[in-house]
Amino acid sequence: MPDLLNSALFWRQVAAAVLGGAACGTVGVWVIMMRIPFVGVAMSHAAFAGAVYGLLLGVNPLLAAAAACVIASVLIGPLAERADVPPNVSIGIIFSLVLGLAFLGIGLMTGARTKAFSYIWGNILVVSSQDVLVMALMTAVVLGFLLLFFKETRAVLFDREVARAVGIPERALFFAMLILCGLTVTANLNTIGGLLIFSLIVNPPSAAYQLTYRLSTMFLLSACFGVGSCLVGLLVSYLTDAPSGAVIIIASSVCFGLALAFSPKRRRARLQIT
């Protein structure tokens, strides 16, 4: 254990768990409150597609993934508005498009595709200093945005029509939240992976939603649950050699299950019925 505590890699893993869990837990609240949980899937696959084309074209895969996420975010919002389709439908269309593009890119690759597939699964155990730096930057941006625009985002998350009617720049905030969601996915691509990050975006805020009537507390709980899930995943992975990503997802799902079981909101609903 002393060796482990002196290891720079171990502390990078802990930092990645804390940063990834906090950022995903925070953007997850936006996603759950706007009732567009599948935006996480669409973004993660857009990031994956971007990384694949980055590898194909010899461009930094993370930069290509970030660009793909921003494009997907920008398409999801206006597509929903201009075509007058529900956001979940436009997310579904973007998801299927980026999935097709990703597999086309993989098909065009020659030689080993290990690097491309690593963006699906991620691996927190081999996190680099650069990964931690990118994650720290992204987490700071997400938390900074939340602090600066908390009162406005609360209105947008409550009801977009009401937010627009009172004169808040609702569209700009909605698109900013989508873009930050995409960039958070990108920042966590190497460590948590494009496929697994979806549950880290959905489970912690869903658990927090069961436990509080205050939005600020929901953000705090969600970030804590995200961080806790990642640290549990890391710990169990060290102890049992189990794949870290899978344990993180199971931990966050258990967290949701416990929150649902002990939810004061469900108790109150039962009391109201009786």
């Binding site: 009617a165 939603y209 909101k265």
Partner: protein
């Protein structure tokens, strides 16, 4: 009297459905206008055009002396209070009644600016006026339909608007709640010298203070005039016939 709301040959369509067709009207400052008509007449669309939430396909809109253009409408919207039809809120939603009313101030406060003591006083005043002070900490999804309409009214009034738009504010309320809502709307109209546009398809829900009535059917204005001229059996009969 100066013009608060002016629409000139305005048309609105969604796909193949024409929601408003060639609508022209003008309301003066201080008017209390009742817009009546059967379901699908275009009443809600009319309100969304006045507050800039809807998209105009043709025609001109002038609100509070300013031509409606994309760039300026957000600022203008801060002066237009809007009470939408009773919206469904998840009972578990993490927003309480006071926070919901405070949302009405946000346009005036502006982004990157903090809520001041003055803003809190305005919110308190509107919550007292609408009789919902005791609900401050209650989740907004866990109050009755009538209480939720009062929250929506308090939020719209917290904007300190010049124009107040009400979209079926009394629908699905019991008779006592309807009377209470009408009383509150009239009190706000008089106390804050508002221009009020109230949409309803239940004529008895129009308060006595309503001095002008617009009748709509199939996206068109079929008649308009004073309350006495409009609320007569012949006109009402033809408005709601074959609706």
């Amino acid at each position: 009297m100066s013009c608060a709301v002016g629409l000139k040959r305005v048309s609105v369509s969604y796909y193949h459905h024409v929601a408003l067709s060639d609508v022209s009207l003008s309301f003066h400052k201080g008017d209390f206008v009742g817009v009546i008509g059967p379901n699908g007449a275009g009443k809600t669309t009319l309100l969304t055009i006045i507050n800039g939430l809807g998209r105009v396909r043709a025609g001109e809109v002038e609100i509070l002396g300013q031509k409606a253009g994309c760039g300026r409408f957000r600022r203008l919207r801060q002066r237009i209070g809007y009470v939408p039809q009773n919206i469904n809120v998840d009972p578990r939603a993490p927003v309480n009644c006071r926070e919901a009313v405070m949302m009405g101030r946000l346009g005036r406060i502006g982004v990157l600016r903090s809520v001041t003591a003055g803003d809190s006083q305005v919110v308190d005043r509107m919550m007292k006026l609408t009789g919902i002070m005791h609900l401050s900490d209650r989740p907004v999804g866990q109050i009755s339909g009538g209480e939720r309409q009062k929250v929506a009214l308090a939020r719209a009034l917290a904007q300190e608007p010049d124009v107040l738009l009400l979209d079926e504010p009394t629908t699905n309320l019991d008779p006592l709640a309807v009377d209470e809502m009408k009383r509150l709307v009239v009190r706000a109209y008089r106390e804050f010298e508002l221009t009020v546009v109230m949409v309803t398809h239940q004529l008895e829900h129009l308060p006595e203070a309503c001095n002008k009535v617009v009748m709509m059917k199939h996206g068109r204005i079929v008649a308009s005039g004073t309350r006495e001229e409009m609320l007569v059996p012949e006109k009402l009969g033809s408005l709601f016939a074959d609706a």
